[in-house]
Point group: C2
DNA sequence: TGACTCATGTCAGTATTCTGACATACCGTG
DNA sequence: CACGGTATGTCAGAATACTGACATGAGTCA
Protein backbone atom coordinates (compact mmCIF):
# COMPACT_ATOMS: atom_id res chain seq x y z
CA UNK A 1 0.00 0.00 0.00
CA UNK A 2 2.56 2.56 1.11
CA UNK A 3 5.76 1.67 -0.63
CA UNK A 4 7.99 4.53 0.39
CA UNK A 5 11.14 5.85 -1.17
CA UNK A 6 11.27 7.48 -4.57
CA UNK A 7 7.74 8.57 -5.33
CA UNK A 8 5.50 11.29 -4.05
CA UNK A 9 2.94 10.09 -1.58
CA UNK A 10 -0.33 10.56 -3.38
CA UNK A 11 -2.45 10.09 -0.28
CA UNK A 12 -0.71 12.90 1.56
CA UNK A 13 0.35 15.10 -1.33
CA UNK A 14 -1.24 18.52 -1.21
CA UNK A 15 -0.55 18.89 -4.90
CA UNK A 16 -2.45 15.76 -5.79
CA UNK A 17 -5.31 16.66 -3.48
CA UNK A 18 -5.44 20.13 -4.95
CA UNK A 19 -5.85 18.62 -8.38
CA UNK A 20 -8.49 16.23 -7.11
CA UNK A 21 -10.49 18.97 -5.43
CA UNK A 22 -10.24 21.21 -8.45
CA UNK A 23 -11.32 18.39 -10.71
CA UNK A 24 -14.26 17.52 -8.47
CA UNK A 25 -15.34 21.14 -8.39
CA UNK A 26 -15.16 21.46 -12.15
CA UNK A 27 -17.17 18.27 -12.66
CA UNK A 28 -19.81 19.41 -10.18
CA UNK A 29 -20.06 22.76 -11.94
CA UNK A 30 -20.36 21.11 -15.34
CA UNK A 31 -23.17 18.96 -14.02
CA UNK A 32 -25.29 21.87 -12.88
CA UNK A 33 -24.41 24.14 -15.80
CA UNK A 34 -25.08 21.63 -18.58
CA UNK A 35 -28.89 21.77 -18.20
CA UNK A 36 -28.60 25.54 -18.63
CA UNK A 37 -26.63 25.19 -21.86
CA UNK A 38 -23.62 26.75 -20.17
CA UNK A 39 -20.03 25.66 -19.72
CA UNK A 40 -17.60 26.41 -16.92
CA UNK A 41 -15.34 28.57 -19.04
CA UNK A 42 -18.21 30.62 -20.43
CA UNK A 43 -19.63 31.09 -16.96
CA UNK A 44 -16.26 32.16 -15.58
CA UNK A 45 -15.93 34.72 -18.33
CA UNK A 46 -19.42 36.15 -17.79
CA UNK A 47 -19.04 36.27 -14.02
CA UNK A 48 -15.76 38.10 -14.31
CA UNK A 49 -17.35 40.53 -16.72
CA UNK A 50 -20.26 41.17 -14.37
CA UNK A 51 -17.92 42.11 -11.55
CA UNK A 52 -15.50 44.09 -13.64
CA UNK A 53 -17.25 45.51 -16.70
CA UNK A 54 -15.03 46.65 -19.53
CA UNK A 55 -12.34 44.04 -19.04
CA UNK A 56 -10.22 43.35 -22.11
CA UNK A 57 -9.66 40.01 -23.80
CA UNK A 58 -6.25 39.56 -22.21
CA UNK A 59 -7.48 40.52 -18.77
CA UNK A 60 -10.35 38.06 -19.04
CA UNK A 61 -7.90 35.38 -20.10
CA UNK A 62 -5.74 35.95 -17.05
CA UNK A 63 -8.77 35.98 -14.80
CA UNK A 64 -10.01 32.65 -16.08
CA UNK A 65 -6.58 31.02 -16.35
CA UNK A 66 -6.58 30.38 -20.08
CA UNK A 67 -4.50 31.87 -22.86
CA UNK A 68 -5.65 35.05 -24.50
CA UNK A 69 -6.02 33.11 -27.74
CA UNK A 70 -8.52 30.76 -26.14
CA UNK A 71 -10.39 33.62 -24.57
CA UNK A 72 -10.51 35.32 -27.94
CA UNK A 73 -12.37 32.47 -29.62
CA UNK A 74 -14.67 32.25 -26.59
CA UNK A 75 -15.43 35.96 -26.77
CA UNK A 76 -16.12 35.74 -30.49
CA UNK A 77 -18.68 33.03 -29.79
CA UNK A 78 -20.25 34.94 -26.91
CA UNK A 79 -20.41 38.02 -29.11
CA UNK A 80 -22.01 36.09 -31.96
CA UNK A 81 -24.64 34.77 -29.56
CA UNK A 82 -25.30 38.23 -28.21
CA UNK A 83 -24.15 37.68 -24.63
CA UNK A 84 -21.38 40.27 -24.73
CA UNK A 85 -20.46 43.27 -26.85
CA UNK A 86 -17.18 44.77 -27.91
CA UNK A 87 -16.77 48.07 -29.72
CA UNK A 88 -15.69 47.67 -33.36
CA UNK A 89 -12.80 50.04 -32.76
CA UNK A 90 -10.50 50.32 -29.77
CA UNK A 91 -11.13 53.58 -27.87
CA UNK A 92 -7.50 53.62 -26.89
CA UNK A 93 -4.64 51.43 -27.99
CA UNK A 94 -5.69 47.98 -29.15
CA UNK A 95 -7.65 47.08 -26.04
CA UNK A 96 -11.30 46.25 -26.68
CA UNK A 97 -13.39 46.70 -23.51
CA UNK A 98 -15.99 43.95 -23.25
CA UNK A 99 -19.41 44.30 -21.65
CA UNK A 100 -22.35 42.06 -20.84
CA UNK A 101 -25.55 42.52 -22.80
CA UNK A 102 -28.92 42.20 -21.03
CA UNK A 103 -29.12 38.74 -22.59
CA UNK A 104 -25.73 37.88 -21.15
CA UNK A 105 -26.71 39.16 -17.76
CA UNK A 106 -29.84 37.05 -17.89
CA UNK A 107 -27.92 33.90 -18.74
CA UNK A 108 -25.38 34.63 -16.06
CA UNK A 109 -28.00 35.02 -13.35
CA UNK A 110 -29.28 31.48 -13.73
CA UNK A 111 -25.77 30.11 -13.91
CA UNK A 112 -24.72 31.97 -10.79
CA UNK A 113 -27.52 30.41 -8.79
CA UNK A 114 -26.45 26.97 -9.93
CA UNK A 115 -22.78 27.58 -9.21
CA UNK A 116 -23.51 29.07 -5.83
CA UNK A 117 -25.33 25.89 -4.86
CA UNK A 118 -22.25 23.89 -5.78
CA UNK A 119 -19.96 26.13 -3.79
CA UNK A 120 -22.27 25.89 -0.78
CA UNK A 121 -22.26 22.12 -1.05
CA UNK A 122 -18.48 22.15 -1.20
CA UNK A 123 -18.26 24.19 1.97
CA UNK A 124 -20.98 22.27 3.79
CA UNK A 125 -18.73 20.44 6.24
CA UNK A 126 -16.49 23.39 7.05
CA UNK A 127 -16.69 25.98 9.80
CA UNK A 128 -16.18 29.66 9.04
CA UNK A 129 -12.78 29.43 10.65
CA UNK A 130 -11.79 26.55 8.41
CA UNK A 131 -12.95 28.41 5.34
CA UNK A 132 -10.89 31.42 6.34
CA UNK A 133 -7.92 29.13 6.96
CA UNK A 134 -8.32 27.54 3.56
CA UNK A 135 -8.43 30.93 1.90
CA UNK A 136 -5.26 32.00 3.64
CA UNK A 137 -3.42 28.77 2.87
CA UNK A 138 -4.40 28.66 -0.79
CA UNK A 139 -3.34 32.26 -1.24
CA UNK A 140 0.00 31.42 0.30
CA UNK A 141 0.45 28.52 -2.13
CA UNK A 142 -0.34 30.67 -5.14
CA UNK A 143 2.09 33.32 -3.97
CA UNK A 144 4.88 30.82 -3.44
CA UNK A 145 4.35 29.17 -6.79
CA UNK A 146 4.36 32.39 -8.72
CA UNK A 147 7.52 33.64 -7.05
CA UNK B 1 -14.39 47.38 -6.36
CA UNK B 2 -16.81 45.26 -4.38
CA UNK B 3 -20.15 45.60 -6.07
CA UNK B 4 -22.23 43.19 -4.07
CA UNK B 5 -25.49 41.49 -4.92
CA UNK B 6 -25.82 38.98 -7.71
CA UNK B 7 -22.31 37.69 -8.36
CA UNK B 8 -19.93 35.45 -6.53
CA UNK B 9 -17.16 37.31 -4.77
CA UNK B 10 -14.06 36.26 -6.65
CA UNK B 11 -11.65 37.61 -4.05
CA UNK B 12 -13.17 35.51 -1.28
CA UNK B 13 -14.46 32.54 -3.26
CA UNK B 14 -12.81 29.31 -2.28
CA UNK B 15 -13.85 27.84 -5.61
CA UNK B 16 -12.09 30.53 -7.57
CA UNK B 17 -9.01 30.33 -5.39
CA UNK B 18 -8.97 26.57 -5.76
CA UNK B 19 -8.91 26.96 -9.51
CA UNK B 20 -6.20 29.60 -9.27
CA UNK B 21 -4.00 27.45 -7.05
CA UNK B 22 -4.50 24.40 -9.21
CA UNK B 23 -3.69 26.40 -12.31
CA UNK B 24 -0.56 27.87 -10.73
CA UNK B 25 0.58 24.42 -9.68
CA UNK B 26 0.05 23.01 -13.14
CA UNK B 27 1.95 25.85 -14.76
CA UNK B 28 4.83 25.47 -12.32
CA UNK B 29 4.96 21.73 -13.01
CA UNK B 30 4.91 22.27 -16.75
CA UNK B 31 7.79 24.69 -16.43
CA UNK B 32 10.06 22.22 -14.66
CA UNK B 33 8.94 19.19 -16.67
CA UNK B 34 9.31 20.74 -20.13
CA UNK B 35 13.14 20.66 -20.07
CA UNK B 36 12.84 16.95 -19.33
CA UNK B 37 10.58 16.33 -22.30
CA UNK B 38 7.78 15.38 -19.94
CA UNK B 39 4.23 16.59 -19.53
CA UNK B 40 2.09 16.77 -16.41
CA UNK B 41 -0.32 14.09 -17.55
CA UNK B 42 2.44 11.67 -18.51
CA UNK B 43 4.17 12.27 -15.21
CA UNK B 44 0.95 11.70 -13.28
CA UNK B 45 0.41 8.44 -15.07
CA UNK B 46 3.95 7.20 -14.45
CA UNK B 47 3.92 8.25 -10.81
CA UNK B 48 0.65 6.46 -10.24
CA UNK B 49 2.05 3.39 -11.91
CA UNK B 50 5.16 3.46 -9.75
CA UNK B 51 3.11 3.46 -6.59
CA UNK B 52 0.53 0.97 -7.75
CA UNK B 53 2.01 -1.37 -10.36
CA UNK B 54 -0.44 -3.27 -12.48
CA UNK B 55 -3.10 -0.59 -12.59
CA UNK B 56 -5.49 -0.86 -15.52
CA UNK B 57 -6.24 1.81 -18.09
CA UNK B 58 -9.50 2.79 -16.42
CA UNK B 59 -7.97 2.91 -12.98
CA UNK B 60 -5.16 5.13 -14.23
CA UNK B 61 -7.73 7.39 -15.85
CA UNK B 62 -9.61 7.82 -12.60
CA UNK B 63 -6.38 8.43 -10.71
CA UNK B 64 -5.30 11.18 -13.05
CA UNK B 65 -8.76 12.71 -13.49
CA UNK B 66 -9.10 12.18 -17.22
CA UNK B 67 -11.40 9.94 -19.23
CA UNK B 68 -10.38 6.38 -19.91
CA UNK B 69 -10.31 7.24 -23.61
CA UNK B 70 -7.72 9.94 -23.05
CA UNK B 71 -5.67 7.67 -20.85
CA UNK B 72 -5.82 5.01 -23.51
CA UNK B 73 -4.15 7.15 -26.16
CA UNK B 74 -1.62 8.26 -23.57
CA UNK B 75 -0.81 4.68 -22.66
CA UNK B 76 -0.46 3.73 -26.30
CA UNK B 77 2.08 6.52 -26.71
CA UNK B 78 3.96 5.54 -23.54
CA UNK B 79 3.95 1.94 -24.70
CA UNK B 80 5.25 2.89 -28.13
CA UNK B 81 8.05 4.84 -26.50
CA UNK B 82 8.88 1.95 -24.22
CA UNK B 83 8.06 3.58 -20.90
CA UNK B 84 5.34 1.14 -19.95
CA UNK B 85 4.26 -2.36 -20.96
CA UNK B 86 0.93 -4.07 -21.21
CA UNK B 87 0.39 -7.76 -21.89
CA UNK B 88 -1.00 -8.45 -25.37
CA UNK B 89 -3.77 -10.51 -23.82
CA UNK B 90 -5.78 -9.83 -20.69
CA UNK B 91 -4.92 -12.34 -17.94
CA UNK B 92 -8.47 -12.07 -16.69
CA UNK B 93 -11.43 -10.26 -18.18
CA UNK B 94 -10.54 -7.34 -20.42
CA UNK B 95 -8.35 -5.56 -17.90
CA UNK B 96 -4.79 -5.01 -19.06
CA UNK B 97 -2.42 -4.50 -16.12
CA UNK B 98 0.15 -1.83 -16.93
CA UNK B 99 3.70 -1.73 -15.61
CA UNK B 100 6.67 0.59 -15.80
CA UNK B 101 9.67 -0.49 -17.79
CA UNK B 102 13.18 0.30 -16.53
CA UNK B 103 13.20 3.12 -19.07
CA UNK B 104 9.94 4.42 -17.68
CA UNK B 105 11.25 4.23 -14.14
CA UNK B 106 14.33 6.16 -15.21
CA UNK B 107 12.29 8.92 -16.82
CA UNK B 108 10.02 9.08 -13.81
CA UNK B 109 12.89 9.51 -11.37
CA UNK B 110 14.08 12.73 -12.93
CA UNK B 111 10.55 14.04 -13.20
CA UNK B 112 9.83 13.23 -9.58
CA UNK B 113 12.77 15.28 -8.41
CA UNK B 114 11.56 18.23 -10.43
CA UNK B 115 7.98 17.92 -9.23
CA UNK B 116 9.05 17.52 -5.63
CA UNK B 117 10.91 20.81 -5.85
CA UNK B 118 7.73 22.48 -7.04
CA UNK B 119 5.68 20.99 -4.25
CA UNK B 120 8.26 22.08 -1.70
CA UNK B 121 8.18 25.60 -3.07
CA UNK B 122 4.40 25.59 -2.86
CA UNK B 123 4.51 24.58 0.79
CA UNK B 124 7.35 26.93 1.67
CA UNK B 125 5.33 29.43 3.67
CA UNK B 126 3.23 26.91 5.54
CA UNK B 127 3.72 25.26 8.92
CA UNK B 128 3.20 21.54 9.34
CA UNK B 129 -0.03 22.30 11.12
CA UNK B 130 -1.27 24.38 8.24
CA UNK B 131 -0.38 21.64 5.77
CA UNK B 132 -2.31 19.11 7.80
CA UNK B 133 -5.24 21.52 8.00
CA UNK B 134 -5.16 22.03 4.25
CA UNK B 135 -5.18 18.29 3.68
CA UNK B 136 -8.15 17.84 5.95
CA UNK B 137 -10.08 20.71 4.44
CA UNK B 138 -9.48 19.71 0.83
CA UNK B 139 -10.52 16.15 1.59
CA UNK B 140 -13.72 17.46 3.11
CA UNK B 141 -14.44 19.49 -0.01
CA UNK B 142 -13.90 16.53 -2.30
CA UNK B 143 -16.17 14.39 -0.16
CA UNK B 144 -18.93 16.98 -0.13
CA UNK B 145 -18.75 17.54 -3.86
CA UNK B 146 -18.92 13.88 -4.72
CA UNK B 147 -21.89 13.26 -2.48
C1' DT C 1 -28.69 -21.84 -17.84
C1' DG C 2 -30.20 -17.27 -19.61
C1' DA C 3 -31.04 -12.41 -19.14
C1' DC C 4 -29.60 -8.31 -17.28
C1' DT C 5 -26.42 -4.91 -15.58
C1' DC C 6 -22.08 -3.02 -15.25
C1' DA C 7 -17.20 -2.13 -16.28
C1' DT C 8 -13.61 -2.32 -19.52
C1' DG C 9 -10.69 -1.42 -23.84
C1' DT C 10 -10.82 0.77 -27.97
C1' DC C 11 -12.07 3.25 -32.34
C1' DA C 12 -13.77 7.43 -34.44
C1' DG C 13 -15.11 12.15 -34.58
C1' DT C 14 -15.63 16.55 -32.20
C1' DA C 15 -14.43 20.19 -29.25
C1' DT C 16 -11.38 22.82 -26.65
C1' DT C 17 -7.07 24.61 -25.54
C1' DC C 18 -2.56 25.42 -26.56
C1' DT C 19 1.81 27.10 -29.20
C1' DG C 20 3.64 29.85 -32.91
C1' DA C 21 3.50 33.93 -35.43
C1' DC C 22 2.44 38.59 -36.92
C1' DA C 23 1.08 43.45 -36.92
C1' DT C 24 0.16 47.11 -34.03
C1' DA C 25 0.01 50.32 -30.02
C1' DC C 26 1.77 52.04 -25.61
C1' DC C 27 5.76 53.44 -22.65
C1' DG C 28 10.04 54.19 -20.88
C1' DT C 29 14.88 55.78 -21.67
C1' DG C 30 18.43 57.69 -24.20
C1' DC D 1 12.37 62.52 -31.37
C1' DA D 2 13.89 57.64 -32.12
C1' DC D 3 13.99 53.16 -30.31
C1' DG D 4 13.85 48.90 -27.69
C1' DG D 5 10.78 46.50 -24.61
C1' DT D 6 6.31 45.13 -23.46
C1' DA D 7 1.44 44.20 -24.14
C1' DT D 8 -2.43 43.48 -27.02
C1' DG D 9 -5.73 41.31 -30.61
C1' DT D 10 -5.91 37.96 -33.93
C1' DC D 11 -5.06 34.22 -37.33
C1' DA D 12 -3.57 29.50 -38.26
C1' DG D 13 -2.11 24.89 -37.09
C1' DA D 14 -1.03 21.34 -33.59
C1' DA D 15 -1.85 19.01 -29.40
C1' DT D 16 -4.85 17.43 -26.06
C1' DA D 17 -9.07 15.93 -23.98
C1' DC D 18 -13.74 14.90 -24.53
C1' DT D 19 -18.31 12.55 -26.17
C1' DG D 20 -20.43 8.84 -28.67
C1' DA D 21 -20.40 4.21 -29.86
C1' DC D 22 -19.36 -0.70 -30.02
C1' DA D 23 -17.93 -5.34 -28.64
C1' DT D 24 -16.56 -8.08 -24.90
C1' DG D 25 -16.07 -10.10 -20.27
C1' DA D 26 -17.56 -10.44 -15.21
C1' DG D 27 -20.98 -10.56 -11.79
C1' DT D 28 -25.92 -11.01 -10.26
C1' DC D 29 -30.26 -12.93 -9.99
C1' DA D 30 -34.18 -15.59 -11.20
Amino acid sequence: MSQDGAGIHLETSLGYLLKEASSALRTAMEDVLRPLGMTVTRYSCLELLAQRPGLSNSELARGTFVTRQSMNVLLQALEREGLVTRPPEAPVGKVLPTRLTPTGRKALEKATVAVRSVELRMLAGLTDDEQAQALRILRSMVRSLQA
